[in-house]
Assembly symmetry: C2
Homo-oligomer: 453 residues x 2
């Protein structure tokens, strides 16, 4: 495997240049004006897969954005790894908070700054380069398949159907994914649990038009006042979610497992300092690690209504809107939660307003057992590169498609993430440390080595 390491070292700059070219394509899946960029990003991945040594690679149509599929089958009797990544990225607003343009990658202090630098172009592209290093040095010891989608940031809306339609093509022993994080640059970890997600847009309508707040104020329900009350009433003073039935399917985590989780290194003062808050806030009776790892959460992701321009306009607006999300834990069904929310939201609306609730997307949580052979192989790969056995962690994030893979394809996923909390994914100034990119490539090559033994 020394040849693999040397190959990576010798081709470092080219690997980075190729990643930069991928990042420069503004493939924002949630904005329809970027439709063509989605295809460009997919085509780009396809070409690089072929160059890296894939037997075949193609941009396949799906209900929404296309899926890139590539494979190299060296021996059907050997184990098969299915690599999953996504080529779409999040929107970039608020754009004025970026220190350099989001789609012009720039290296500062040893980090790549750009939208997608980590999530998921930086992490996803490592797999193409690890594959190339194994192929070109004659060290590939497993069959490899790639499935790269363009809708992860909008809930992987078409990929479930794509999997249904291509079950045979996608057959594999394990799915390998780098779309999560590790605890710190010197503390490797592997995510063994993911939260599920439910996401709604709500609309509250008061009067049929914006009214003069002087002439009508005090006599007609104001939809912003009402929406604020409705949102406020969905969590109690202990920060527990008040939607009836919301916690019914949440599994209690044993005191032993909670102790293990809380043994992970965590510095609350550092954590608060990094995001500049004086006090943390969450469900009573749980630690920060537990609040994001094993407990559901309730966040308003966006709110708008009335006059939001310069100066003071007095108005009693007609409408108010919010985008609301809940992170769910394994065993909570996102469709059931979506219904519970909708019923509750409608039930608490006063008769003075009309409400609409739209479920925008959702996904189930996921748990990976740590005695899985593929997990053990990943563990050993990290240990070899980082000199430390990786910590199994539960992430607060959601990759809804991971549980879909399990239910449709019947394959477990290994979440070999190399991101850091400070990478600011989904935020302005997203970044990814250069050495994570290179160490990630090396770790992935070792995974293949240990997994195929």
């Amino acid at each position: 495997m020394d040849k693999v390491k040397s190959y990576i070292e010798e081709n470092k700059q080219r690997f980075l240049d190729e990643l930069f070219e991928l990042i420069r394509i503004p493939s924002i899946s949630s904005l329809s004006e970027h439709k063509e960029d989605m295809v460009r990003a997919a085509e780009y991945y396809k070409m690089r897969l072929l160059e890296a040594g894939a037997d075949k690679a193609e941009v396949m149509p799906a209900k929404g954005n296309p899926v890139v599929y590539g494979e190299k089958i060296i021996d059907p009797s050997l184990p098969t790894v299915l690599v999953y990544a996504h080529y779409d990225v999040m929107p970039v607003d608020p754009i004025d908070l970026w220190e350099s343009p989001p789609f012009e990658p720039e290296i500062r202090d040893g980090k790549i700054y750009a939208r997608g630098a980590d999530d998921d172009k930086g992490q996803g592209y490592m797999h193409v380069k690890a594959f190339e290093a194994l192929v070109k040095t004659g060290n590939l010891t497993a069959n490899v398949k790639f499935m790269l989608e363009g809708e992860e940031e909008i809930g992987s809306v078409s990929l479930g159907e794509f999997c249904e339609q291509h079950k045979e093509m996608l057959k594999a022993d394990v799915i390998l994914v780098s779309d999560t994080g590790m605890i710190a640059s010197d503390i490797p970890s592997i995510t063994t649990g993911l939260r599920g997600l439910a996401y709604w847009q709500v609309e509250v309508t008061g009067p049929n038009r914006d009214l003069h707040s002087g002439l009508f104020g005090g006599a007609v329900a104001n939809p912003i006042n009402v929406l604020s009350k409705m949102i406020a009433s969905m969590t109690d003073e202990d920060n527990r979610i008040t939607i009836p039935g919301f916690y019914d399917d949440v599994l209690d985590v044993s005191p032993e497992e909670r102790a293990l989780l809380n043994a992970a290194p965590f510095d609350e003062e550092e954590y608060k300092k990094a995001i500049d808050v004086e006090e943390l806030s969450g469900e009573k009776g749980y630690t920060t690690i537990e609040r994001t790892g094993i407990r559901p959460s309730f966040d308003v992701c966006g709110i708008w209504g009335g006059y939001t321009g310069e100066g003071a306009k007095t108005v009693l607006p007609s409408k108010a809107y919010a985008k609301i999300s809940a992170r769910l834990v394994p065993n909570q069904d996102h469709e059931k939660i979506a219904k519970l929310f909708e019923e509750y939201f409608v039930s608490i609306a006063p008769r003075s307003v009309k409400v609409k609730v739209e479920s925008l997307h959702g996904g189930q949580g996921y748990v990976c057992p740590i005695d899985l052979p593929a997990y053990r192989a990943a563990e050993k790969a990290y240990e070899t590169v980082y000199g430390k056995r990786p910590v199994p962690t539960r992430s607060g994030g959601s990759i809804p498609i991971i549980s879909t893979f399990e239910s449709i394809l019947g394959i477990k996923s290994i979440l070999m993430g190399f991101g850091l909390e400070s990478d600011a994914i989904h935020s302005p100034n997203e970044n990814y440390p250069l050495d994570h990119f290179y160490k990630g490539i090396e770790t992935i090559t070792l995974f293949y080595k240990y997994f195929s033994k």
Copy 2:
């Protein structure tokens, strides 16, 4: 006075054409890009005053937008009427709800549709034309002064100082204002009370940047969730405002006066139908007329924060904002209320967020006694034109400058309004019935006749 009536009739079309030209100037005072339009509107009024017969008219500098001053002193021993109006208008968003462009006036079903059609170009320009009709027919029996400002919709921020500096020039026996409404086209009314106003912008900051709602959600305070709770806690289940001390200076209105107020024609079903709500909502224990006339109110005029674009972006935002207003009743001091709000808002903020409160503007309430000679003159003028004695009403709206006039110039104002609730002032599709424009001009000419007797 028949000559006056004929003059109005003969010049109808020209009066309207002139008003349309005024409306076409987009003089939105709250948007700085319209600075030049403010001057254009002021110059336009000046020219029309000179043509109408003013001895002099000029666009005078003020701290903010200029003030148009004009006068015709026919005999210093005669009473003097000071006409006040404003040439600025409200913003036009949401622009897509307008059926015709806001600054291209159009007549549909006997109504002028445009921003400013009623508030206050339509109503203000009636005074210029009433003045012209009296001058040109030799029927002017009082001295007339005009003061037209360009900042009414942003709280008349410079006019107080202007009045202080020009007390002598502005001396008058009464101020005449058409910037309010009447009950219905066939039910004339005169506004005898106005609510005061306090207006704030608040900012709630959680983490120092937008965070991934999966990785941090449940452990870090979300500023939208927090702002919603803060807004929600500012009114109780009886829709009373919970800010400590808020009601301290609210005067109890006697049962007799309340009975009189409630005797005004009011059809709750019609009112609900007009704004398409199933149920009204307001302070417990008061009728709709009382809720808008003699009780304060609390309205969020605008709210924004987080992701508000297309689709579903999961984010735990850094900031949330709201524009919040309270309508005040006479005897409540807007500066005191502004302080009470600020103190309370800061006091209820959890330590997990930082808050900022900015007071954007305010004004005191106003009451006009109905035994004032000028009130009697106005009453008689309406009765002559409409065949019915006008009802004295308390409006929920605010014209902060009216109480400023009283305190600085020591002059009472008569609020001869001709607008209708259906005029949609401050809203898309603002309109003003043509016959209100013409009858208004006639009524104003009669006011001069009765007032100078």
